[in-house]
């Protein structure tokens, strides 16, 4: 990913899960890991090495930043930057189109209109 420019799709599962976890609110490392592990968070099981390695690259690419908020000097909080939010939205759009295509092919049940 070029620094300061929108990332090219598709995103890796770890990147997507981290961006998605931060979309709701700023979080510290373990909170991101825990959120990413859940089904709604992407279902990605990652350890601290992958988490902070990915965060390091996201910070360099301008998608994420440290928020400076901390209840413990060992806990570092992160938040999405505008570029990160745009990138996440782009990836969600791509996945949404894929899901719509899968539905039209009968691979997924159609959503009922109520």
């Amino acid at each position: 990913m070029a620094n300061g420019t929108a990332a090219a799709s598709p995103l890796t599962p770890a990147v997507f899960a981290i961006l998605l976890a931060l979309a709701e609110s700023e979080k510290h490392g373990y909170a991101i890991m825990k959120e990413a592990r859940t089904a709604r968070g992407g279902g990605v099981a990652m350890g601290p090495g992958t988490l902070y390695g990915t965060l390091d690259r996201l910070i360099r690419d301008g998608l994420v930043e440290e928020s400076g908020t901390s209840d413990d000097e060992r806990r570092r909080y992160y938040r999405l930057k505008a570029l990160g939010r745009t990138t996440l939205a782009g990836e969600v759009g791509r996945l949404d189109a894929a899901v719509a295509s899968a539905r039209s092919l009968g691979l997924l049940p159609q959503r009922s209109r109520r």
Partner: protein
């Protein structure tokens, strides 16, 4: 295994990360692991294999990233490429100069023989000169394929062989017409002549000169098998090749060492 022991083990494992990464995230990673251990929603049976696998994969990734940063610096790569280029030019010269000296030296006895015979035939003519015994040879016919001795062939103005002290497979070979046409205009030509191709190929260092007798013009070809010269050329090529590869190896080692020594340093932090 107790929680404290696991935390201590993980802290030690973090020392395997590159220094820059460890300084930046070591404390946060320890805290993250401690939080995971304290979280009852994930069992140790699930957590520990996950962390172990993560440790191995992320160590490899971070070290490769560090190598990329250390050795992909434009100046370092540029200098290495420049040195490799200079080494390549030097190796080519190391091969080309001796090869040319060897090849040119291969013409030496033929130049003298062709010049001497030409002087005689310029006076008598090619046909009369042969009758006079210009090609008299006490050593017998030279086998062009096997012998390294020089030989002489006299051709008339149409390129037909009139006399020879050398033969190939029992016959006197005739060079391509283009050689006679060239010598007719320029007076002399020095060529590598390959009368036989393929697995049994024979290569001759040939000097062809014009016989300028008004009534009986023709050509003199003095030749010698290039087998021994080409063996030496091959040895020169091998030595130049070994030297080139050695220089490239030294450049690679030097680049790695210099890149490592000159990489951005980070202050040591206790993990």
């Amino acid at each position: 295994m107790t929680t404290a022991r696991l935390k201590a083990l993980y802290a030690r494992a973090l020392r395997l990360y590159p220094a820059a990464f460890r300084d930046a995230y070591g404390a946060a990673m320890r805290q993250c692991f401690a939080d995971a251990l304290a979280d009852r929603s994930i069992s140790r049976r699930t957590l520990l294999p996950l962390v172990l696998k993560d440790l191995v994969i992320s160590l490899i990734k971070e070290h490769f990233a560090m190598l990329r940063e250390t050795y992909s610096r434009p100046t370092l790569v540029f200098n290495a490429l420049v040195l490799a280029g200079i080494s390549t030019v030097l190796a080519l010269a190391l091969y080309a100069i001796p090869q040319q000296v060897l090849r040119n030296g291969a013409n030496d006895p033929q130049i003298e023989m062709a010049t001497n015979l030409k002087a005689r035939l310029d006076f008598y003519g090619v046909t009369n000169g042969l009758i006079q015994g210009a090609l008299a040879n006490n050593s017998g016919i030279v086998d062009m394929a096997r012998s390294l001795s020089p030989f002489l062939i006299v051709y008339d103005d149409q390129g037909r062989a009139l006399g020879s002290t050398g033969q190939l497979e029992g016959q006197t070979p005739i060079p391509p017409n283009g050689i006679f046409d060239y010598v007719r205009v320029h007076g002399e030509e020095r060529v590598t002549w390959q009368p036989v191709h393929g697995s049994g190929s024979v290569r001759i260092a040939a000097v062809v000169v014009r016989v300028n007798n008004g009534s009986q013009p023709g050509f003199v070809l003095a030749g010698r098998n290039l087998r021994e010269v080409e063996t030496r050329e091959s040895q020169v090529r091998q030595m130049a090749g070994i030297t080139w590869i050695s220089m490239l190896g030294l450049i690679l080692v030097g680049t790695v060492v210099f890149g490592w020594i000159s990489r951005p340093k980070h202050t040591q932090a206790t993990v």
